[in-house]
């Protein structure tokens, strides 16, 4: 039993991280209808920037947690203004392809500048070590990352439901035409929302830096898993992305524990099942599919 609890906790810890990472993807799709392939690359940039800040400017984890999302927000705004904007009127496939090309550029650029073997990063002071209760133990950092992710997800959720901006964004997601008819300038929010989504990817990158290998390729496989997460949750559904994030984290942890050979594929089996039974995902709306 304690073993089961252990795996469950680990699954939840991983799930929180997936949820945060997928959140930005879901926000961007929800408002702009863009499937941002470069989300994995932005996540990578977040981690690389924190490593560079630490190595070259001695800027630590806590500051990076604040600074990196701001930098990535700026990057996102630039990306939207210079590239994504011009294709918004076209089929979503074009932005999917554009961001795919952009991913190649970003990954290669980081490789050129910072090499391929990866960058060092340390666990921030005070977050090392483990917590042990009975026979169950978790690393302090994993707990922190999970709690932090949940706080951010809840914060974003509250912002969307309780503030005026959030209301507009939600309205724009759900019924763009009607929102516009009510005299609200939806277009004004497109750029900030895109930047915000990219900032979330960067934040996930900072959070990953202490526990994962920081390499140019770190986002390349991650993005595929994130796609699975948002498809399971329902493209464009923010709640769906969060729930699916935890679901995928749990399924993966149980898969690893009880069927290690198939651990790699359970996520995709889950995704295929969800899409077949509920084409628009767990929380998605039918018309998007």
């Amino acid at each position: 039993m304690s073993e089961f609890i252990q795996y469950t906790l680990q699954g939840l810890a991983a799930g929180g991280f997936y949820a945060l990472s997928a959140l930005g993807l879901a926000v961007i799709f929800g408002v702009l209808g863009v499937v941002n392939f470069s989300h994995g690359a932005c996540y990578m940039l977040g981690a690389v920037i924190s490593a560079v800040l630490l190595a070259e400017l001695h800027v630590g984890f806590w500051v990076a947690l604040l600074v990196v999302p701001i930098l990535m927000y700026g990057f996102g705004v630039l990306m939207e203004r210079l590239l994504v904007r011009w294709l918004l009127a076209l089929d979503p496939l074009y932005n999917f392809l554009l961001t795919f090309g952009l991913t190649l550029i970003l990954v290669e650029a980081v490789k050129q500048r910072y090499g391929v073997s990866g960058l060092p990063y340390e666990i921030p002071a005070g977050l090392g070590g483990q917590v042990t209760i009975g026979s169950v133990n978790l690393s302090v950092y994993a707990i922190f990352a999970c709690v932090f992710s949940v706080v951010v997800c809840v914060g974003v959720g509250l912002a969307l439901t309780r503030t005026r901006i959030g209301m507009i964004v939600r309205a724009a997601t759900e019924a763009p035409e009607r929102t516009r008819a009510l005299g609200i300038n939806v277009g004004r929010w497109v750029t900030p929302v895109f930047g915000f989504g990219i900032a979330l990817a960067g934040l996930a990158g900072v959070l990953a830096a202490p526990t994962r290998a920081i390499t140019a390729e770190m986002g390349s496989n991650f993005i595929i898993v994130l796609f699975a997460v948002v498809v399971i949750g329902g493209l464009g559904s923010i709640l769906g992305a969060v729930v699916a994030g935890f679901l995928v984290g749990l399924v993966e942890a149980y898969g690893i524990a009880y069927a290690p050979t198939y651990a790699q594929i359970v996520i995709f089996v889950l995704m295929a099942l969800v899409v077949l039974v509920r084409p628009s995902g767990l929380f998605g709306r039918e018309e998007i599919a």
Binding site: Q6, Y7, Q10, G11, A13, A14, E108, K111, G115, V116, S117, G118, L119, P120, E122, I123, G128, G129, Q130, T132, N137, L138, S139, V140, Y141, A142, A208, P210, T211, R212, A213, T215, E217, M218, N221, F222, E252, A253, I256, A257, P260, T261, A263, Q264
Partner: protein
């Protein structure tokens, strides 16, 4: 039956260059044994990953290593001892076996490469072995670890210079077990390399009197090892073996360091390179034991060579750089001994050759399977680096015979 002239431009170009080469060759009175060379020059092809994960391990700096070999060779035997020109051509296989395959053919056919060196990534390495066999040209692999190169896929023209997965297992598993690390749990990535490593490690641990409690497969690639590390700690083993490589290994070690096992259980790593330590930082790996084929700060001879290498590249050499140097040097000497670059004759002089140089200690090119056997080292990561790249403390030299064992029975030289 087979008419070469149909190849049009290729044939014309080749003939033209032959004619030119012949004229040029006649001009020089003492061009050594070059009259027996196919094109009055020796061409060494370097085919490796110059943009991907193995870029730092070998990559572009291997070219520098080969050029050092040529420089030393010329200094030792004279500028024109083997040929008027010794040329190095390079290509980046980008870790794609299909590109490695096309480039290898192109090197042999068009760039007139007499030998291809390096080729990390096992699928690419084996594809090039097939081409070496087809084209009857030499191929010395350095960067790849697969035992298939000296096993099922071995052939007369292929040599495996630096290491293989079986050697790593014998070095790390055997030595640690004998020194008291008798109970193991192993985590391995679930693909052919990981499965092989797991098998060899288990065999070596039990062979040395130890026991492996659990072998846990992890998906490949993966960046979340928390659950595996928990499983690996069950049953209180003395040693946890990680068979991961590259980015996965770094993920594993980072997360191992955050687990309760850190400090209680010894971490042994199946395949690790100095570039991995460099990227993660020496303190994260501190105390980890692994087998290295060569270390730059092992003795004076290595150090001296590493200093020269640093002058040109501003970095310290990995084992792959030293091995590229050694392979190029020995190839040039073999061509000189044979008096020709004819691959069959060069193979004849290489087979069975005993070598002691900056890379190979007690080295021998084993005739039976073309594995180049030599002493390897059990290394322990230092807790702090006295200087950049000075990360390893050599705990033990593992003699060639012990590290390489018997010739691979799966190999039938044809």
């Amino acid at each position: 039956m087979r008419s070469r002239t149909v190849q049009g431009s290729v044939a014309i170009a080749a003939t033209a260059s032959l004619a030119l080469a012949a004229c040029g060759g006649a001009g020089g009175p003492q061009s050594g044994g070059s009259s027996k060379l196919t094109d009055d020059k020796v061409v060494i092809g370097l085919l490796n990953d110059q943009s991907g994960v193995y870029k730092d391990l070998s990559g572009p700096n291997s070219k520098t290593a080969i050029e050092l070999a040529i420089e030393d060779y010329k200094a030792k035997y004279g500028d024109k001892a083997v040929a008027n020109t010794i040329e190095v051509v390079t290509a980046d296989h980008q870790n794609k076996a299909d590109i490695a395959n096309s480039k290898a053919q192109e090197m042999y056919d068009r760039q007139k490469a007499d030998i291809i060196l390096d080729v990390p990534n096992s699928a690419a390495a084996l594809a090039v072995a097939t081409q070496a066999k087809n084209k009857k040209k030499l191929y010395i692999n350095i960067g790849a670890g697969t035992t298939a190169l000296t096993g099922a896929s071995c052939n007369r023209y292929t040599f495996h210079w630096a290491y293989n997965t079986a050697v790593l297992a014998r070095g790390t598993a055997g030595t640690i077990t004998k020194e008291g690390g008798t109970s193991w749990n192993i985590v391995y990535p679930d693909y052919a390399f990981g499965q092989d490593m797991n098998k060899s490690f288990t065999k070596e641990v039990t062979g040395a009197g130890g026991s492996v409690g659990e072998s846990i497969a992890s998906p490949f690639p993966s960046d979340n090892f928390a659950t595996f590390i928990t499983k690996a700690g069950e049953g209180n083993p003395k040693v946890v073996g990680s068979m991961h490589a590259g980015g996965d290994l770094i993920n594993f070690v980072k997360q191992f360091n955050q687990s309760p096992l850190k400090g209680k259980v010894q971490l042994a790593v199946g395949l690790m390179f100095i570039t991995d330590i460099h990227s993660l930082g020496v303190d994260q790996f501190a105390g980890t034991q692994f087998t290295d084929a060569w270390y730059w700060n092992f003795d004076e001879q290595n150090k001296k060579w590493a200093d020269r290498f640093k002058q040109k590249t501003n970095t310290r050499p990995s084992f792959a750089h030293a091995a590229n140097y050694s392979a190029a040097m020995n190839y040039l000497e073999a061509v000189q001994t044979a008096g020709t670059d004819d691959a069959d004759k060069v193979v004849g002089t290489l087979e069975g050759k005993k070598i002691n140089d900056v890379f190979l200690r007690n080295g021998e090119i084993r005739k039976a399977d073309h594995a180049v056997t030599h002493d390897v080292y059990l290394a322990k990561v230092k807790s702090s680096a006295p200087e950049e790249w000075d990360y390893e403390q050599i705990v033990k030299t593992i003699p060639a015979a012990e590290a390489y064992g018997e010739a691979n029975p799966a190999c039938s030289m044809s």
